[in-house]
Symmetry: C2
Subunit: 523 residues, 2 copies
């Protein structure tokens, strides 16, 4: 399914590096650059609301849940709400939640937790001051400078995993990094999960819609981790990243997905889709009220099903172009919404997810400044999960391979900025300064020579050559150069080790489930 590059991708450790182009990869991780370390935010969070403003938003959100509630399209979910004291109107399917219920449920949601990766060194720590990056999610199209824009396919899906892992960018592997429309819908999620397990050893995400999709993710994650689905509940490995059908509706497929995951103790990342002026009020405060209400309703449901289930409050509030209705991202409105979302989540004691997003039609300067703004806000807000941080383009309609490489420079730059600054007398360098005459230079200073090789961050895409050299090399922009880098990274990628028995069990499970889904009468 994954094409010829897949052959040998799961060779045992120490064997992957033998053949041809794979020699360029680091043997066991496949990373062309060192993998992203765990990042701890050393800065104070940037608060944008006064404490009183936070309380006013919360009060309005809780009032909304009490008086107007949410339309909950799953009978099973309504039953859970009802059992925990909510007012449920079966005819309108509206669930009204008292604030005492919401607050009691939020109190059982953990403020931090760990999702376990197959590689224990890459466990995903969610909460506290840890910053995590994830890739583009849910794009229907894939594009690159060579092949243009086209529907996503499974080979493109696998390429995105190879490139993001090869560049060592991410803290979790994502879910639907692009929609592989060449795979039949009933088994599409199975091929995505296979790719995640084969090509990476990070935490991955279930598809965020459907109960079947959640159950298959649980089964395959249990196989990957050599354990049972039941045991996963005590040692969670998965997340599901899903939305509310804003305003104030959650459909049955999403609820099945959420309830299956939360019921099995896996992480639910719930993100209302609250574009200001479209699916939410045109005002920031109003959109935050609605976003907070919607997210709280779902976190409460998760806690009703399994107290202590790991949940993350997502924020996706942004504005739209009021002339066309097109969504906008990386705008000042997005920045304010992300900062405010994290502040509200901190007050509620739940981890928060925002995104590094843009609405640019091309992987150009616009894509870069919009992403820079949203990434700045996501990091300085102390968001714990920063989604769409590699490869997202066109407001999410495309995954761009060149954009992954541009984002690599942003993410790796931030990772460097987040490192603590430490120095001693050697770094204060008084003797080195004294050793260079006024007007001299430090290139040949012993202090420089002893340190220069590792003194500075090494970019992978930046070109600092002079204009003449750049011109003579063909005047290639950063986007042009990104094409070379993703190709080389993809071709050099060596997946991490995978126990052959696990691989066999994964393949067997997927073969059986594929037959059930695709052969009439098998199931």
């Amino acid at each position: 399914m994954s094409g010829d590059r897949a052959a040998g991708e799961n060779a045992p450790p120490g064997h992957g590096g033998r053949g041809g182009r794979r020699e360029r990869g680091t043997r066991n991780t496949g990373a062309a650059t060192p993998p992203m370390p765990r990042l701890v935010n050393r800065f104070n969070p940037v608060d944008i609301l006064s404490p009183e403003q936070v309380e006013r938003i919360l009060d309005a959100a809780f009032t909304l849940l009490e008086t107007d509630g949410m339309k909950i399209l799953s009978p099973r979910a309504r039953e859970a709400y009802r059992r925990h004291g909510a007012m449920v109107d079966e005819e309108s399917r509206i669930v009204r939640l008292g604030r005492d219920i919401v607050e009691a449920m939020l109190a059982t949601a953990p403020s931090s937790f760990v999702l376990h990766a197959r590689n224990p060194a890459r466990d995903l720590h969610v909460g506290g001051h840890v910053v995590n990056f994830g890739p583009v999610n849910g794009a229907p199209n894939i594009r690159d400078l060579d092949r243009g824009r086209r529907y996503g396919d499974i080979e493109g899906f696998r390429d995105i995993l190879r490139i993001t892992n090869g560049l060592g960018l991410l803290h979790w592997q994502g879910g639907v990094v692009v929609e592989p429309v060449d795979v039949p819908v009933p088994v599409r999620h199975l091929e995505m999960y296979r790719a995640h397990i084969e090509l990476s050893d990070l935490v991955w995400a279930a598809r965020g819609v459907g109960g079947v999709q959640a159950r298959d993710a649980l089964a395959l994650s249990a196989i990957e981790h050599g354990t049972s689905v039941e045991a996963l509940a005590e040692r969670p490995t998965l997340m599901t990243v899903t939305n509310v059908n804003s305003p104030r509706v959650v459909d049955e497929e999403i609820l099945d997905n959420i309830m299956t995951m939360a019921g099995h103790g896996q992480c639910v990342v719930i993100t209302p889709f609250t574009l200001m002026g479209a699916m939410a009020p045109v005002t920031l405060a109003g959109a935050l009220v609605q976003q907070t209400a919607e997210a709280c309703a779902i976190i409460a449901l998760c806690q009703m099903l399994r107290p202590g289930a790991p949940c993350v409050m997502g924020g996706f509030t942004s504005n739209v172009d009021m002339k066309t209705g097109s969504p906008a991202f990386g705008t000042p409105e997005y920045v304010n919404a992300a900062l405010a979302t994290a502040q509200i989540a901190r007050r509620l004691g739940v981890p928060v997810r925002t995104s590094a997003v843009n609405a640019s039609p091309a992987p150009d300067a616009q894509a870069t400044w919009e992403t820079s703004f949203s990434l700045w806000a996501a990091i300085m807000s102390h968001s714990h999960l920063i989604n769409h941080a590699a490869g997202w383009l066109e407001g999410g309609l495309s995954a761009s391979l060149e954009k992954i490489v541009i984002d690599a420079e942003l993410l790796r730059g931030w990772a460097e900025i987040l490192k603590p600054i430490e120095f001693g007398d050697d770094e204060l360098a008084l003797d080195a300064i004294r050793g260079v005459a006024p007007g001299g230079h430090f290139f040949g200073s012993p202090h420089t020579l002893a340190r220069y090789e590792n003194a500075f961050y090494r970019p992978i895409l930046s070109d600092w050559s002079n204009y003449e050299n750049w011109r003579d090399a063909g005047e290639r922009t950063a986007t042009d150069r990104a094409l070379d880098i993703w190709k080389k990274t993809r071709d050099a990628y060596v997946p991490p080790p995978l126990d052959p028995a696990v691989r066999e069990a994964v393949d067997a499970y997927i073969a059986r489930r594929t037959e059930e889904e695709l052969v009439p009468g098998t199931r």
Copy 2:
């Protein structure tokens, strides 16, 4: 001198908008977009050093000034240092400064001050929490997509003023926005000053080198403000933005400039040129020690000449590419250096200048992420003057007209983000949310309709159209589209009003000085 666009540029207020293309400009300001308001930073500064680390850097810097000092190439400056207790070695021209002297001099430097603009509404407030943007400075080349890269000229110089003012981007007008090499060196500064006075009513900067250049700036500023050079000292109007010849040398031309300006009570922005591994130690701490020492030595000199003279501590510390020696900007090292510089200046009680800089060979994604990083650091460090914030490219070797427009989006976006968030019950929008059925939309909500026109920041360059529309419109990147915007802005620009008598006096002064400089025996 300024070409045909200059004709009629100084028509009295109310008359500028009559002819043809000028009708598009806002009549009195020439701004195609509203001028940048005074920005007050509502965020806490991002501190990167511990208080102990700040003290260690200061202690090392003061030690360096005591034990090794600075090479000061002006006899007049050495004499001023000597008179104030410094140890001066006339043979080596080394000046050693005790920390008691440095601290006493720093104590007289104001922590905030105002530079007066011809338009009092645009006075430049330096210090406190005010954030100010200035343009590219000192570039020898100018480039744009139509005409490529070429040496700067006076018409390009004037175009940069038209575009930055037309877009309403800046808080001060800059000095050498590009080097007009078509104007003979002895009178080049005069033509630059003429352009500043004719085309804008913001604070402008003297050329940062030379005593003559400073004296001509003082004379012309006095004419512009209808006052005397002596009176300017009590109501300063000018800044000079200049460098140290790092490591630890200041040449006579720079010192003449600094002493003339400080002696007349004008603002001296002193920025050591401390690229790590080249003109300063390869370590951040070491570069900061040297930068701090060099800046403090010059601020002390300014205070010796005129206690209370407005001074700004500049930081330009960044890294170099250790393979080629090329300077790098917008790197994690630059971010750290900018944040630390501002923290040190805060401790010393003097305002601080950093920059929004990049080292990209093209106005592309790289230029944008590097600028985004450095701008983020400059703003969140609470830098008071952010230099090079519009149009800087190639590490300062070119002023790019397209980059001005890209930077416009960054600067205007930040200006929006810095606005305080205020809301009441109407903005909390509970009734509006109740008025939209679950699953409905807010496009037609009265709450939206009453607000949508001014609800959101309006970008000037972002394209949020869908892929198909963008493709059918020619697949133009943000950089391509920036070309249209600067042309339109330049052509539509209407300069602010200038009293015809002032203009006449300015022209007469420049005519006389030009003759003195260019005609043998006149002076």
